[in-house]
């Protein structure tokens, strides 16, 4: 049984850029169900990142309704949105955005610490890295990792707290084809194993091929919404297992 994770109705978002007002979203109607693996595609400026920011509770809509995980984003306070991001959402960024002074393990552990997880957070963080085949890189800092490795650590950080919804903005844009392929398999595998919902934006046709549902945005509106038959997933990350059980969060 599936439930609706994201429900957008007549969603608009305007913001100022210098003297000009940009109408980034012009009325989005979209529902996303639990466990979906959804790709947002469209040319630059079509509103993909703005939509992800709104769904990720980073921003508030200008008008329209946006219900994420049962909460009306437009009515949440700044603190409540921060709390929602911390406990229920995961983010993967195009530029990885790992904290450069922390090791891979510490980057993952940091999120758990922010959540208030106690002594077991190190073990849990290590478990996540282990599942994603990154255990041997745990003590390395981001500048000692390749782009693909950094993005996998970023995924580990995003899923460490076992969020229900993971948002990824152009996660493969800075990766070569092989690493992009590995990352997509990894995300798909996490979704299949743990029932997490993934929404990611991309320009890359090879990445789109992994999506189960593809939503095309054009000029701030949904231009096309198509579902594809699911292929059988296959793990390609050695040593992949199950995420450690969440506790104490």
């Amino acid at each position: 049984m599936t439930d609706t994770i994201v429900a957008a109705r007549g969603l608009t978002k305007n913001f100022q850029e210098g003297r000009h007002e940009v109408r980034a979203l012009r009325g989005i109607d979209l529902s996303v169900d639990s466990g979906e693996f959804l790709a947002l595609v469209g040319p630059s400026g079509s509103g993909k990142t703005t939509f992800l920011n709104l769904v990720g509770a980073l921003d508030r809509p200008t008008s329209g309704d946006l219900i994420v995980l049962g909460r009306d984003i437009g009515r949440l306070s700044k603190g409540a949105r921060a709390d929602m991001r911390l406990r229920e959402l995961g983010f993967v960024f195009q530029a990885f955005n790992l904290v450069p002074v922390l090791t891979a393990l510490e980057n993952v552990e940091f999120v758990l610490e922010l959540q208030g997880v106690g002594r077991e957070r190190r073990q849990r963080a290590m478990g996540v890295l282990d599942e994603l085949g990154l255990a041997e890189l745990a003590d390395r800092r981001p500048n000692e990792l390749s782009g693909g490795q950094q993005q996998r650590v970023a995924v580990a950080r995003a899923v460490a707290a076992r969020p229900r919804l993971v948002l990824a903005d152009e996660p493969t844009a800075n990766l070569d084809g092989e690493n992009a392929e590995v990352l997509m398999h990894l995300m798909r595998d996490l979704r299949d194993r743990h029932g997490m919902t993934f929404i990611f934006s991309t320009h890359d046709a090879r990445v789109v091929a992994h999506a189960v549902r593809v939503v095309t945005l054009m000029d701030g509106r949904v231009a096309r919404d198509e579902e594809k038959p699911e292929e059988a997933p296959h793990a390609i990350v050695p040593g992949a297992g199950r995420l450690p059980a969440a506790s104490g969060a």
């Binding site: 920011n53 603190g79 921060a82 991001r85 911390l86 983010f91 955005n97 450069p100 922390l102």
Partner: protein, 410 residues
């Protein structure tokens, strides 16, 4: 805690900026602690100058003396007061005195003086100059009709050792009383003002001249000058007959006031130094935060609350401040130690090796205070000031809008 490691390591991100900030904090705090050391040394200098110039650390005075400063007033029960003072914790020594205005004359030369009747057995423990008689000797216990003069008085009288001088004072019921006094000792303090304050006789001689029995004051020397207030308070509770205790600062308010004025000026200069350091640190910290705007946006996107972000930046500031404190101590400890040992010689500034202020003989060399207080003082100042300077950058980081910052970064 990962957040603490994050804060500490972040200090080392831009090594050049961190070094400059740490050196700035270190030099600023070193200057501040040096000035504080000299201020504390100045406190001790003034207390010592006042006490050893005859004022004492604490003095028991008659009722009403505080308002009228009448030298002919006498204590209600000087023996009780002296016994109480001697038994008070922290008191090193005591002596009694009685005073009167008098004219001393030899031949055709007359000098107005304050004739001070003393107990020759205990007076040297409280008045440094009578321990250093330049010519002759000091008064002996049980001896009467002798006087010790300051060099300036002796010069004006053209008097020398073994000369007899005539002392005239107002006696009982307004009569004029005189007594012949033999000069047995002359004190040359090096300061004309200080010399003019030295005209000591046995307390019985003053009683005989004035007809006023007893002592007019009990002078109390403390083992530690800092205990003056506590000794005054303890005495106040035990004195009887309206006699009261006053500290050297209350006895010579203009003297204490001058010290406070000097200290306030030093504090003002120190505040300016710290302000400049604070602004420099604030600027560097703001630059560090601005450079990491994207990182703060990511942390915010991950759910870090504004308060947590403020704490994070302040932790970085604390780490920076600690490093600054280490530098400050490395600079300040040897310098402060040197000035505490050899002192700051003001002879060239005052143009004399001896000078007085408000009747107190000031030493021309004053020493800084060196003690364990320096370490916590410097650490608290460096860390506190750096955290204070980082409040605005921390607030700036905390209000980073993740959506805007990430959009701009892309």
């Amino acid at each position: 805690m990962v957040s603490t490691r994050y804060a500490v390591r972040s200090v080392g991100r831009n090594v050049r900026r961190t070094i400059l900030s740490v050196v700035g904090i270190g030099v600023g705090c070193a200057l501040a602690v040096f000035m504080e050391s000299m201020n504390r040394g100045r406190d001790e200098l003034f207390a010592r100058a006042a006490a050893s110039s005859g004022i004492g650390h604490v003095r028991v005075v008659p009722r009403g003396w505080r308002e009228r400063r009448d030298v002919r007033a006498r204590l209600a029960d000087w023996q009780h007061d002296r016994d109480v003072a001697r038994s008070t914790p922290g008191v090193a020594s005591t002596t009694i005195r009685s005073r009167t205005q008098a004219l001393v004359a030899m031949g055709t030369h007359v000098v107005p003086v304050e004739l001070v009747g003393v107990d020759p057995a205990t007076e040297p423990s409280t008045f440094r100059f009578v321990r250093e008689i330049t010519h002759g000797r000091y008064l002996r216990p049980g001896e009467h009709g002798t006087v010790v003069l300051g060099q300036s008085i002796a010069d004006r009288l053209r008097a020398g050792l073994d000369d007899d001088i005539l002392a005239t004072a107002v006696g009982p019921r307004g009569s004029i009383e005189s007594a012949m006094l033999r000069v047995v000792g002359i004190v040359a303090t090096g300061s004309e003002d200080a010399d003019l304050a030295v005209c000591q006789v046995a307390i019985e001689d003053v009683t005989k001249l004035t007809g006023l029995k007893g002592a007019g004051e009990v002078v109390v020397m403390a083992g530690d000058w800092r205990a003056a207030d506590a000794i005054r308070d303890a005495l106040t509770q035990r004195l009887t007959g309206g006699d009261e205790a006053m500290t050297w600062g209350e006895l010579a308010p203009e003297f204490k006031g001058h010290n406070e004025q000097d200290k306030a000026a030093a504090r003002f200069v120190r505040a300016i130094i710290l302000l400049i350091v604070l602004l420099g640190v604030a600027s560097a910290q703001l630059a560090a935060v601005l450079e990491r705007r994207r990182e703060f946006a990511v942390l915010s996107a991950l759910g870090m609350r504004a308060g947590t972000m403020v704490v994070l930046v302040l932790q970085e500031a604390a780490a920076l401040g600690l490093a600054g404190a280490v530098v400050a101590l490395a600079i300040a400890l040897p310098v402060v130690w040197q000035f505490a040992r050899t002192g700051l010689d003001l002879r060239s500034a005052y143009g004399s090796s001896n000078f007085t202020f408000s009747g107190a003989f000031m030493e021309p060399v004053f020493y800084g205070d060196f003690g364990v207080w320096i370490v916590p003082w410097v650490v608290a100042l460096a860390v506190g000031a750096t955290m204070l300077a980082s409040l605005y950058p921390a607030w700036f980081a905390a209000r980073t809008d993740p959506a805007v910052a990430l959009r701009v970064a892309q």
